[in-house]
């Protein structure tokens, strides 16, 4: 009879008790939180300065192709968009998708030339008045015309604090936006703003349908399938976690951008090895932002990798004004760190040459082509092409408080970022400063960026940021002045702030470049950030398709409509 008691005992041990279940699930959730950190693709934030120039293999466009294609799969490597509302879209994925579905007031070409779009023309009547003439033949997907009322509504949405627009800063100099004719809109400014019209070519100037937004509700617009644009692709379905399906808009007003690909399945695979396998097997036809660390594996892929100019900047930003590293009045420690870093080594070793070193706040790729000589001359005077360890050591002579290790936050699970960080860490070590790396998950890193409490105990942040448009002033407002979003150390220099403000009010490109470079010479010497490199934009397309833009302008233009079949 021992059999029964044994069997009984076994059955008992198999039974799970209530508290065991609770503990098990709690452990699961904790585990989930931890696991989330690894492989977490980091979409850091729109920060920092950058780099850039040379153009060995760089191209803004890819060979055009005009074959018709039934369906392709396009992957967003940074994960599923949380919204496709242009007003709330601030990351690569959401901006790219929002731009396929919405027209903007003005539109960029892949090499950043401003073209008419929903505004068929614009006229800077005087320093404080900008007049747009709206085209009459654009329609939303439901067939209704894009009216002046829709345009005014779309713009004013950003100025309403209740909508929580992340592009509200674009409208900070705007006094009023009004309909002044059947097809005319007049924007009045409190101060002249050379940036405004340029920024209307981003999702900050995207047009939504007023009645539709009112109908679904401001907060709901852009979530799920609740979207109504006038762009070349329309939303067909959004299966959460799985795919967004876009379909060509057969009535698109712009014949030049009539879509040649009927359906685009947008997937959100973020696991880089899965993306690589899916590209190799031909299941993914296109993707932007292929990690540099995966490029070698893709050499045998059934397609091509393109490199284009980007406005992305990798840099180290000081977080704490109370430490020697962040002292707003004494930049020596930051400057010494900046001097000790071998930027070319980062370009060569981490990016295999697919990046340019960057010596100041904004990358050369952001220079205005009309004033390139001015920017170049100023840039040439900035040191940083090669490391100067002895000079850095001399600068640190007699500095106090450097024996305490510094903490540098970075995105967990990002291989490139980790490798860049180790090079910075080594450079610091060479001049006697210890840096400890602190990898953070996406949410924790975002907290460090935007919530002051979370910056305690952290001295530096490794960031990947971008400029929205190629204009250095697009970036400066985030760093200069009291309470500027990324002015964490409270760096103040009245001269710099005044000069930059004057530059933003200057419409002449050369005059503006002179003003900017004047400010740049001061703030670069004060090392408000430690600039590192400007990585190239990467794009993969399978052999079936071609034509997508390869510059960072891909964020704001309907690149899918430029695609065509190669066969």
């Amino acid at each position: 009879m021992s059999t029964s008691s044994q069997a009984c005992g076994k059955a008992r041990t198999g039974r799970i008790r209530l508290w065991e279940i609770v503990v098990l699930v709690a452990v699961l959730v904790t585990l989930a939180t931890v696991v989330a950190g690894c492989g977490g693709t980091e979409e850091a934030a729109t920060t920092s300065p950058g780099t850039g120039s040379p153009g060995d293999t760089l191209q803004s466009t890819t060979p055009p192709a005009d074959g018709l294609v039934d369906e392709i799969t396009w992957n967003l490597g940074y994960g599923e968009p949380t919204t496709v509302d242009p007003l709330k879209a601030g990351d690569y994925g959401p901006c790219f998708i929002a731009s396929q579905m919405h027209d903007t007031l003005v539109r960029y070409t892949p090499d950043w030339k401003l073209q008419p779009c929903i505004a068929e023309s614009w006229d800077q009547v005087d320093d404080l008045t900008l007049v747009y003439t709206i085209r009459q033949d654009a329609t939303f997907w439901d067939g209704s015309p894009v009216t002046v009322e829709d345009v005014v509504f779309s713009m004013k949405r950003h100025m309403d604090p209740k909508t929580g627009s992340i592009w509200a800063a674009f409208y900070s100099y705007v006094k009023s936006i009004e309909q002044t004719g059947d097809w005319e809109i007049t924007v009045k400014f409190t101060k002249p703003d050379e940036l405004f019209n340029k920024e209307m070519g981003t999702v900050g100037g995207a047009i939504v349908k007023k009645d539709y937004v009112k109908q679904v509700g401001e907060a709901k617009y852009g979530s799920g399938e609740n979207v109504m644009g006038s762009g070349p692709y329309k939303m067909v379905s959004w299966k959460p976690g799985q795919e967004i399906v876009l379909e060509a808009n057969p009535d698109y007003w712009d014949a030049e951008l009539a879509p040649k690909v009927s359906r685009v399945k947008v997937t959100f695979i973020s696991d880089t090895s899965t993306v690589t396998s899916a590209i190799m097997s031909g299941e993914i036809d296109g993707a932007y932002g292929i990690p540099q660390t995966n490029l070698a594996a893709l050499e045998a892929a059934p397609g091509t990798i393109y490199f284009g100019p980007s406005l992305t900047v990798v840099e180290v930003v000081p977080t704490n004004g109370d430490t020697p590293m962040g002292d707003p009045k004494d930049p020596d420690v930051r400057t010494a760190l900046s001097m000790a870093i071998d930027r070319q080594a980062i370009v060569d070793n981490v990016f295999s040459g697919k990046a340019v070193l960057n010596k100041t706040f904004t990358p050369p790729s952001a220079w205005d082509p009309e004033a390139i000589d001015v920017y170049q001359a100023a840039y040439d005077k900035i040191p940083g092409d090669a490391p100067d360890v002895e000079g850095a050591k001399a600068l640190l002579e007699g500095k106090q408080g450097l024996d305490k290790p510094l903490v540098m936050a970075l995105a967990a699970g990002n291989e490139e970022e980790l490798r860049v960080s180790s090079i910075v860490q080594q450079a610091a070590k060479d001049i006697g400063i210890t840096i400890k790396l602190k990898p953070l998950q996406a949410m924790d890193l975002a907290n460090v960026f935007y919530v002051p409490e979370y910056r305690k105990g952290i001295d530096l942040v490794m960031t990947w940021g971008w400029l929205d448009i190629p204009d250095p002033l697009d970036y400066t407002s985030l760093f200069f002045g009291e309470g500027a979003l990324f002015n964490w150390i409270n760096y103040r220099n009245v001269e710099v702030e005044k000069t930059l403000d004057k530059a933003r009010q200057t419409f002449d490109p050369v005059e503006r470049a002179n003003l900017f470079c004047e400010a740049q010479s001061t703030f670069t010497a004060d090392t408000i950030v430690v600039p590192l490199v400007n990585p190239y934009q990467t794009l993969y397309m399978s052999d079936r398709i071609s034509g997508a833009p390869c510059s960072f302008a891909y964020m704001w233009i309907p690149g899918l409509a430029m695609l065509g079949g190669t066969k």
Partner: protein, 312 residues
């Protein structure tokens, strides 16, 4: 029987209540401000304030928990504040994928595991080969199995897709074969070992020897006297396996880019998306409790001496 079910139901509800409170609490206490991620790229203090207010992130814990609980009792699982959509509409397409994946893997595990276990218990020679194979199987983590399977069967041979869950029964079967195999890998080894051990144990029992000495055909002995008794530990292990599979699904879903509950739980927990975490966690708890109840029921049917007492 009715008493058993009733008691189990009460236990289920109590478990869910306690678990929901603990999970909500731990998520609340964990450091991190979810508003920053929601804000997108440029979270000015004003935008953050807006978000916190709209989603009541600043409310005290008990207020928020109570709000959540009362809504759930009315059948409203709440809204994901990351996606600004109803949790139910976010979960619906994912539940199917995960259930399909877990059942598929469970079938593979039980089918292959029990067969191999039986074979190796009854045939010595097969036994040593299987033991070696299972040792390798148990030592292979799901993500390693996933990488190997993808490389060989999806990229090189092109027999199966690399990612996605497919639609329709056949589409799903095709898409989820590699993930189910990856998920089943280590568990097959485990179930094989358990089956082998418990069949061997039964084989050496007195009543089996007696039956054998009486000349009852071996096939009948195995079926009536060995396998049936050996099934009790096997069923118990199978119940635990389901729980383990759901946890394992997290890794496999991630590796195969499958939109399922596991990968969604990881993501939601890292973003502190309360409503989503709660809903998935409760689904998991309920699954565990129910799987456990089914195991008890089955064991009772297999062995009448194990009377259902309704305890648990």
């Amino acid at each position: 029987m009715a008493l058993f079910v009733a008691k189990r139901l009460v236990a289920l509800v109590l478990t869910l209540l306690v678990a929901s409170f603990l999970i909500y609490g731990s998520l609340y206490l964990a450091p991190g401000d979810p508003a920053t991620q929601l804000a997108g790229g440029r979270a000015t203090p004003e935008v953050l304030e807006q978000i916190r207010e709209r989603y009541q992130l600043d409310e005290p814990f008990l207020t928020r928990y109570w709000d959540w609980l009362t809504n759930v009792l009315q059948g409203d699982l709440g809204q994901s504040f990351v996606y600004r959509q109803d949790v139910s509409s976010l979960l619906a397409p994912r539940v199917g994928n995960t259930v399909f994946l877990v059942l598929y893997a469970a079938l593979l595990i039980l089918g292959v595991g029990v067969t191999l276990g039986l074979a190796s218990a009854l045939r010595r020679r097969v036994g040593s080969v299987v033991t070696a194979a299972t040792a390798i199987g148990m030592a292979t983590p799901a993500f390693v199995a996933a990488i190997v399977l993808i490389t060989v069967f999806a990229v090189n041979l092109g027999w199966f897709p690399v990612f996605g869950a497919g639609t329709g029964f056949l589409g799903r079967l095709w898409h989820l074969t590699l993930p189910a195999v990856a998920l089943a890998f280590a568990w097959v080894a485990y179930v094989t070992q358990i089956t082998k051990a418990s069949v061997r144990e039964e084989l050496s029992r007195e009543h089996v020897e007696t039956a054998r000495s009486r000349g009852i055909p071996p096939r009948l002995i195995v079926r009536r006297h060995v396998f049936r008794n050996a099934l009790i530990p096997i069923t118990t292990v199978a119940g635990l396996t389901v729980a383990g599979l759901i946890a394992g699904a997290v890794v496999v879903e991630q590796a195969f880019g499958i939109s399922g509950l596991g990968s969604f739980l990881v993501q939601a927990a890292s973003q502190k998306d309360f409503a989503v975490v709660q809903a998935i966690a409760l689904l998991l708890v309920a699954t565990f409790v129910i799987a456990n109840a089914i195991v008890d029921l089955l064991n009772g049917l297999l062995d009448p001496r194990l009377r259902l007492t309704g305890s648990g």
